[in-house]
Symmetry: C2
Subunit: 355 residues, 2 copies
């Protein structure tokens, strides 16, 4: 069994504005410690997947950042999407490219910008999932046992009778719930957080695409035939540009009968906002987490990032303060989801120097 | 009667950090509208005092800023204190220098960094005060009828029987009171805000200095004798350096029997903090006042200054945000007095690049 990783690194992570920008998206930032999130994502695969089997799928703007940060990966493993077409197309493109090299590949699809703690449990889960996916022709999602009624995550409901060790048949996918529903999900015991990670043989996912997303499949086959030909880039650009923007969850997972869930018994966070960064950071005795040049006076429960200029806080609490080179964000922690609205505003007003 | 103005412009205004710095103190900043506070202070004298009778007393660091901003004043009217020695020495030095030119001068002493609205009332008050000071050999302070129990101002108590139109004998000077005392002051009707402005003949203030601050007077006479001599700067530096740092209120006003008060029937603020700036600024329908490049989302009752970089506020209220070139202040409005503590911290830690 040959396991490959496909790390999806095409998003911007606009909730991380002003640090996240088109050229420096969330996954390329050093949000925790010394490494960027994508660097940590690749490091985390050490011992189970060889560098030559690790693929990154990204876009033109982020290409040079990815190449610089992940210099040990073969250059041809860094796939450039000509346009963003959501996750179904992205995974399809990676699948046909890896298939050329290894038609029997088992692929692990991973987001580039999540935090995982507990490397051994993570590895064990991946290897079990890969084994089951390979033997049972299954798509195996990794579900995280929920520890709180989080409304920022999607949930996956399972049939409670395991089909194998820690592996369950998936009944339904549920979008981000409201708080009441989230409480019900967590209390039920048969709902798990959707980690966005899943694993399957290439021919399995392509077969499901043929079944449930025939237009996508047809496009992918056209592109696949052109691989290695001089007109490959033209074909890719033409065909990819006409693909619909559909997520893998919506396009495949919610319909396929081959979807299973394996419990991921490790700490996981999708680090969806500055609030999540605050929660995951080490705090001082006043509940503050600070990075850089920061003066605090009667300040509490706040996250302050100020790598260059001096930032002074007096008499405030529960703030996110991101004092970046050309823009400053000051946001109440419980409004961290609304950071995206600033990015929308900047886009609408064509203030691209801040994007 | 020849009226002269002496504008005291030696302070830093550390409550206005990070905008106020040693070289760009409060009075040289454009805090409201197009003009700096000192520019407005000089403009306000138009029509009652000629430019050649307006003196500025400042220090080496602020000299070039003052000269640039007040280019219509004769260069010799910009007096440079060799060291800061508080207001008694400062006024004494200005007095002996003006005495050389005009021994009969009536001098109006003015802070450089206050806000006044109601120019005609201001002029009428000054002219009445000057007339009384000249005819009665008096020191006439300008007292503002209090409109609220402000704890940030000093108060002056009068004898309620006027000695002349709107002029009263002063009974006591009171330091900044606590809230309860301030309420009592305001309710009493015989307490006024101490505007820091006062007017008197030069020989009167020098005589009172001789009486109540003989060491200062002796030093001033030594300096005065050296005016015009080649060793003037040396004498000034030597003598001034040994003078005690005493305020004119503490040194003279609280002791002299010649102190009177004239009611100033104009709007006045010493603009003592960013909170005062907020209070004096025009606000939008959400109670926000913003200068520069600012995005607001569910933000209320805040003052935001961000002339260059973009500042985005989400879900916050009652904040002062000063996003200056090399430093950022975020302060709850009711903690605006504590901005001084940042400056103390920077001084103690020798972080002079921010001072």
């Amino acid at each position: 069994m040959n396991i490959y990783a496909v790390i999806m690194a095409g998003g911007v992570g606009s909730r991380f504005w002003p640090r996240s920008k088109k050229k420096t998206p969330k996954q390329l930032l050093k949000i925790f410690g010394e490494n960027s999130m994508i660097r940590d994502t690749v490091n985390r695969l050490k011992g189970i997947i060889q560098p030559e089997n690790i693929y990154i799928i990204t876009n033109k703007l982020q290409m040079s950042g990815v190449l610089t940060q992940l210099h040990e990966l073969p250059v041809e493993n860094i796939i450039e999407e000509p346009f963003g077409r959501n996750t179904a197309a992205c995974i399809g493109l990676a699948s046909i490219l890896i298939r050329k090299k290894d038609p029997d590949a088992v692929t692990l699809i991973l987001p580039a910008d999540h935090i995982i703690k507990g490397e051994k449990e993570f590895h064990d889960t991946l290897l079990s999932a890969a084994k089951f996916a390979d033997e049972s022709e299954a798509i195996v999602t990794i579900g995280i046992p929920p520890t709180r009624p989080e409304t920022g995550y999607g949930y996956i409901q399972i049939d409670e009778n395991p089909v194998s060790d820690s592996v369950y048949k998936v009944l339904t996918f549920a979008e981000k719930p409201n708080y009441q529903t989230a409480v019900r999900f967590v209390d039920s015991g048969d709902f798990f957080w959707n980690s966005g990670m899943f694993i399957q043989k290439i021919d399995v996912i392509l077969a499901e695409m043929k079944e449930y997303m025939p237009d996508l499949h047809e496009g992918l086959m056209t592109i696949s035939e052109a691989i290695g030909n001089p007109d490959y880039q033209d074909v890719l650009t033409n065909v990819y540009g006409r693909l619909k923007k559909i997520s893998i969850d919506y396009g495949i997972m919610e319909h396929s009968q081959k979807v299973y869930l394996i419990k991921g018994n490790f700490d996981w966070s999708d680090v969806g906002s500055w609030e999540a960064v605050y929660e995951l950071s080490i705090k001082d005795e006043n509940g503050n987490s600070k990075v850089g040049n920061v003066y605090l006076d009667t300040a509490f429960d706040s996250y302050v990032y100020s790598p260059d200029r001096l930032t002074a806080l007096i008499g405030v609490d529960n703030l996110i303060v991101i004092n970046d080179e050309d823009a400053l964000l000051i946001c109440r922690r419980d409004k961290a989801q609304d950071v995206k609205k600033v990015v929308d505003y900047l886009q609408i007003n064509k203030l691209s120097e801040y994007l």
